[in-house]
Amino acid sequence: MAKLTFVGGIHPFDGKDMSKDKPIKEALPKGDLTYPLSQHIGAPATPIVAKGDHVLTGQKIAEASGFVSAPVYATVSGTVKAIEPRRVVTGDSVMSIIVENDGLYEEVAYSPINSLEELTKKEIVERVKEAGVVGMGGAGFPTFIKLSPKEPEKIEYVIANCAECEPYLTSDYRRMLEEPEKLVNGLKIMLSLFDHARGILAVEDNKPDCIAILKELTKNESRISVKALKTKYPQGAERQIIFATTGRSINSSMLPADAGCIVDNVDTIVAVYHAVMLGKPLMNRIVTVTGDAIADPRNFIVRIGTNYHELVEEAGGFKQEPVKIISGGPMMGFAIFDLDVPTTKTASALLCMTQDDVSKMDSTACINCGKCVEVCPGRIAPRRLADYAEHYNEEAFLAENGMECCECGCCSFVCPAKRPLTQTIKSMRKIQLGKRRKK
């Protein structure tokens, strides 16, 4: 049988061996915690605490402001030290609540339920919304919106994105090995919202152990199946994983719901489980701390707001001076100036590398090799689009579907002339998206 996959894609060095065999360790924060009010797509949250207030672990400190927004919770007990702009991984300054950790971890009381039957569908979605659950794979889209499509009866597939196609990342892998029940139960909760939907656990075939465990766990679940995907980047991109598992294709102006699909990543589904069954807000996530500069690469369960400095310390510090530090994976993550930024809801990894491919290689003239066209999962011609972007030829850029770029980075990766194709196309897309918003 042909393997489930998509057309295009690349096979970069995956670097997962560094961290994949070590169990998840808890990293308790020691210093102050920083909670940016904007850790999601949409309106920033509004603070509901003031400087000097005492807060408890699990206490809401900022609430959603508007429909597309998400609340923020304290992940330690302590005192609100300041509400001021702080730098985040993107390099922007974002208004943040800073909490001084008292080290006591006094917790609020949660309201767990014993069985899903206690809640109506509406109450389930409400719990996910209240918990501040957002897409933890990187996009940060509020999950409750995904769970409340216009026509819920038309949702046919709920896809658990367990591909983890980014190089170096092993957080989803460890979660699937260590807490697969939470993932399966989270998926069951989501399925309970959609009567006509079937659940798919979509795992890349470089994780046969996870596939076996999940198959075993779901053998009596008639609505859930485990699907092995070909290992290839960007297999875990939303559009590509929908195509691989269901054969349906959507473009940039469609939502997965338009193809009858809902896609969420492993950590997000586990957060849904915590929110609905345990009544716990989104307070922590798994972060892969890795790279050849890190002494002891591994995965940590991290409280949101923890400073990256502390994560590096937990991983034994640097064994070699890093040249480039990336929050997230090497293909789609953000390069950061220094470690003084907080872990947010969408931070899947902290990758510290002793060399920087980008500054090491100068870009030269395009030789028209066509490798970018071959690998582009969006089936557009990056070489041509980058040219249009460079010359600000809007018309041609739009006519040749420049907006269909998903910014996966495959074209820049393969380019033998080392041209910044993704980057150039991305900046043109930003301008065009801005223009659309103005209209």
Partner: protein, 311 residues
């Protein structure tokens, strides 16, 4: 950690393949053909190849130095052009033919249009065609020490019989690098294995040429006739090393098939109905001219823009 780290937009990793590694692979892949050419035609062939390579590299260097541009001879693309040009000359040509061709290929066809990636024709082929038109008798004189008389293709055209085995091995007259089908295919396999070229263009070129021969060749599906046409002249060298030139072929997959088929038909027309027995060089440079059109007409459909389900 006092100093700030480097930042850049994603992605942060790059493949190890570079322009120079690709060009170097092409140079290596051409060595069997060049080696056989030197073995077949002797010292004259070696001198000509040396002259063309030296001229192309020196021309590129001098132009860039003179114009105050970055020196790009380190990417080996000029070496590839020189080598290809050399392989496309008859061993009897005087050394200055190589030099004139090399200067024309690099200066006029490549550098004046903006250098690497900007030329609209394959420089080596354009250089050869320039020489063919300007110095026709020199360029079509294949009488050397080892061989006299017509090239196998010309003999074929006149209705004479040819030894196909000799043509496959390369023990015939012709330009320096085109005679040995085996040597060329060995080099091509190397490039295919490395992923430098694929068989979309070469395959559709050769297949469509075979179909054209069957339809219009007047010999039906005669295997000996077809193999003689495949092994003879510049078809193999052209299909694997010059039609596949990145810069001057369409970038889209569908466009590459169209391009290959176009070349197959053009080569067929020139070889069967033209005055000369050869036709590969002209077919390819005409195809080069149509590349922008083909590319535009064959842009892929962006993912998901049709919607719907996979069958």
């Amino acid at each position: 950690m006092s100093e700030l780290k480097k930042v850049s937009s994603n992605p942060h990793i790059r493949s190890k393949v570079t322009t120079s590694s690709i060009m170097l692979a092409v140079v290596v892949a051409l060595l069997p053909a060049a080696g056989f050419g030197i073995y077949n035609f002797g010292l004259d062939a070696l001198i000509l190849i040396a002259v063309t390579v030296a001229t192309t590299v020196i021309t590129e260097y001098t132009y860039e130095k003179f114009m105050g541009k970055d020196i790009t001879i380190g990417d080996y693309s000029a070496v590839v052009t020189g080598l290809l040009l050399g392989l496309n000359l008859p061993s009897t040509a005087p050394w200055w033919i190589g030099a004139v061709g090399g200067v024309f290929a690099i200066l006029v066809v490549k550098m004046l249009f903006g250098g690497l990636g900007q030329n609209f024709m394959n420089p080596a082929l354009a250089g050869r065609c320039f020489l063919l038109i300007s110095f026709t008798s020199i360029m079509t004189n294949f009488d050397c020490d080892a061989y006299t008389g017509a090239t196998p293709l010309a003999a074929l055209k006149n209705g004479e019989s040819v030894n196909v085995l000799d043509m496959v091995i390369g023990r015939t007259s012709g330009t320096i690098g085109e005679t040995s089908m085996i040597a060329i295919v060995i080099g091509a396999c190397f490039l295919v294995l490395l992923g430098v070229i694929d068989l979309r263009i070469s395959g559709s070129y050769i297949l469509s040429f075979i179909v054209f021969l069957c339809l219009f060749g007047g010999h039906g599906m005669d295997a000996a006739y077809i193999s003689a046409h495949l092994a003879g002249g510049g078809l193999m060298l052209g299909a694997f090393f010059m039609a596949t030139d990145y810069v001057t072929r369409p970038i889209t997959k569908a466009g590459q098939y169209v391009f290959g088929i176009l070349l197959g038909c053009l080569t067929g027309i020139f070889r069967l109905f033209g005055p000369s027995a050869e036709g590969v060089s002209y077919a390819i440079i005409i195809g080069n001219l149509l590349t922008p059109l083909i590319e535009k007409a064959t842009l892929p459909k962006a993912f998901g823009t049709k919607g719907g389900k996979r069958a």
